[in-house]
Amino acid sequence: MTGSDREAPQRSVDRPHPASRIAAKFAALKAEGRGALVTYLQGYDPDRETSLALLRGLPGAGADLIEVGVPFTDPMADGPAIQRAAQRALKVGATLEGVLGLVRDFRQGDDGTPIILMGYYNPILAYGVDRFCVDAAAAGVDGLIVVDVPPEEAGEIEPQARAAGLDLIRLVAPTTDDARLPRVLAATSGFVYYVSITGITGTRSATAASLEEAIPRIRKHTSLPIAIGFGIRTPQQAGEAARLADGAVVGTALVDTLAASLEEDGTARPETVGLVLDQVGALAAAVRGR
């Protein structure tokens, strides 16, 4: 049992899906000769309306792919900034269902920008794995990063995600050695998320030298695009990472800007959306080599 009470989607309807938005986006950027800017914000941080305004503004500000964090009470792989973002979101009633609703609303005005949900397994289990994958795909989600489901537990969600046409993006860490790498990559689709530091989000940054060594090591084992995340804060770092790999993920730095813009009670101010999007613009300029 997968923890879901719903029927599994029929494998026989595992029809070819339209080329995934993620693959299409990376292919288009490759043709343009540049890497991707991937942004991360928590859904519902600090409230639904602001969160939706941010989502809608991200592509125009220069985000190529969008990660939406799904709030969880116990984000084991995240540092204090994202923990607090989750607490703010939960306080205003964020749920997995609500985050799917956000994506649905976003999709009405944007059919091209890939959306990846990043979060932890328990809210998905509570929702029901089978139903979640179907509903996420229907809402316009393209890929999933389920932080605490490693390849060893892939059977939990991989068949349902595949049947629904969702990419399962896996984390590769500096601790993932050459013996283990093929196994992790075999379980990955969409792109590879290279966690550039051994650590949690928002704590430190990788050195350019360590990335220059790590990315070719992964390339030897996969033809999927590679995005670098955890610890990328500045436009310069984002530009370097996007050139070295195929994309740079910026999360905590944006969450920090958002948090700093809030009222003391954690509610949004009129300038919140603009401040975050300005920062995205600066990151995007660096990624585009401007």
Binding site: M1, G3, F72, T73, D74, P75, M76, A77, G79, P80, Q83, L90, T95, L96, E97, Y120, Y121, N122, P123, I124, L125, A126, Y127, V147, D148, V149, P150, E152, E153, R170, L171, V172, A173, P174, T175, T176, D177, R180, V184, V195, I197, T198, G199, I200, T203
Partner: protein, 405 residues
């Protein structure tokens, strides 16, 4: 469930670390290689007679094992029913069962070449045990403890510091055991090269639940022999408190295939399982994934983990070890609960009748014994795990009794 019952309850976990659907290895990729390394090292250590010999030497000469089996005669007479025996793990060095598994794990960490130890703690007993063994082996030790627990377990915080450990108060979430475990896992992710995470109960990702159970099983193995010597037979019922479930697994495991032995795990009912303020994961929770394993959890309809409550910091955890979830669904162990007030009453009764001040954790087990013994015939035997002593709790108890200290 229409699955056939297993012909042994002692086979688990499988190679994926599963007890039925429970357990597993739900950790981020950064930790995964490390978890696999711990598993390999543990498998090798288990087959090494020298490892076992060293662990047992320490248990005998440092911890003071075997712990006695005590016939609680005055309590038995008071309750007027079944005979009550205590397995006295509160007499261990450091005052609780925790040190059994800490010694095993620190020996493992040394084998693995790890040079730093981290631990989470609730009541502080596991933190004290870890700090103690780290002092003995000259290893730097960092203990993560919820800020709320730092407040209510001051004596243990001071003990850990005396022993040379660094105590890190954790302020995230409700600042109790769950949050301490999150923080320890976060620290571990960032310090994987040199650090070993010494988990204090039968929870966490595989292999921790099986490893801690194996080490704690020394409790049940001794008790089985001691009961044979004292009564020439097996006990009829085992009773143990359930936080994460390590003292209970340690007592139960060697008896699981003895079908005449009934087993009761006692969860903390806090203000009552009908309120929101309890820590009864098996009684009131449902399966989910937290801290690396699938198990029963206190959670809301959306899969957000809810806060546990118990007067006992050691039971104040919204989850439970996966093997307990499995035994619960199979019906091999009965999971019941005791409230804060029942535990407080048991705490006082035990002190007055037996001259033993129990920890608040086993006081929950005793509360169930107090309910159960009078309903059973005098020939029956109840064996309870008195897994910790109450010195650490006297301030909490005094406060609840309205006594100024």
């Amino acid at each position: 469930m229409n699955k056939p019952l297993p012909n042994t309850y002692r086979q688990g976990p499988d190679s994926q670390g599963r007890f039925g659907q429970f357990g597993g290895r739900f950790v981020a990729e950064t930790l995964m290689p490390l978890i696999l390394e711990v598993e390999q090292a543990y498998e090798a250590a288990k087959r090494d007679p020298a490892f076992d010999a060293e662990w047992r030497r320490l248990l005998t000469h440092y911890v003071g094992r075997p712990s006695p089996l005590w016939f609680a005669e005055r309590l038995t007479a008071h309750l007027g029913g079944a005979k009550v025996y205590f397995k006295r793990d509160e007499l261990n060095h450091t005052g609780a069962h925790k040190i059994n598994a800490v010694l095993g794990q620190i020996l493992l960490a040394k084998r693995m070449g790890k040079t730093r130890i981290i631990a989470e703690t609730g009541a502080g007993q596991h933190g004290v045990a870890t700090a103690t063994v780290c002092a003995l082996f000259d290893l730097p030790c960092t203990v993560f403890m919820g800020a709320t627990d730092v407040e209510r377990q001051q004596p243990n915080v001071f003990r850990m510091k005396l022993l040379g450990a660094e105590v890190v108060p954790v302020t995230s979430g409700a600042a109790t055991l769950k949050d301490a475990m999150n923080e320890a896992l976060r620290y571990w992710v960032a310090n994987v090269q040199d650090t070993y995470y010494c988990i204090g109960t039968v929870a966490g990702p595989h292999p921790y639940p099986v490893m801690v159970r194996d080490f704690q099983s020394v409790i049940g193995e001794e008790a089985k022999q001691q009961m044979q010597a004292a009564e020439g037979r097996l006990p009829d019922a085992l009773v143990a408190a359930i936080g994460g479930g390590s003292n209970a697994m340690g007592l139960f495991y060697p008896f699981l295939d003895d079908s005449s032995v009934r087993m009761y795990g006692v969860e903390a009912a806090g203000h009552g399982v009908e309120t929101e303020q309890h820590a009864a994961s098996l009684t009131k929770g449902r399966p989910g994934v937290l801290h690396g394993n699938r198990t029963y959890l206190l959670q809301d309809a959306h899969g957000q983990i809810t806060e546990a409550h118990s007067i006992s910091a050691g039971l104040d955890y919204p989850g439970v070890g996966p093997e307990h979830s499995w035994l619960h669904e199979l019906g091999r162990v009965q999971y019941v609960s005791a409230t804060d007030d029942e535990a407080l009453a048991a705490f006082q009764l035990c002190s007055k009748l037996e001259g033993i001040i129990p920890a608040l954790e086993p006081a929950h087990a005793l509360a169930h014994v107090i309910r159960m013994a009078p309903t059973l015939p005098k020939e029956e035997i109840i064996l309870m795990n008195l897994c910790g002593r109450g010195d650490k709790d006297i301030f909490t108890v005094a406060r609840h009794l309205g006594v100024e200290m």
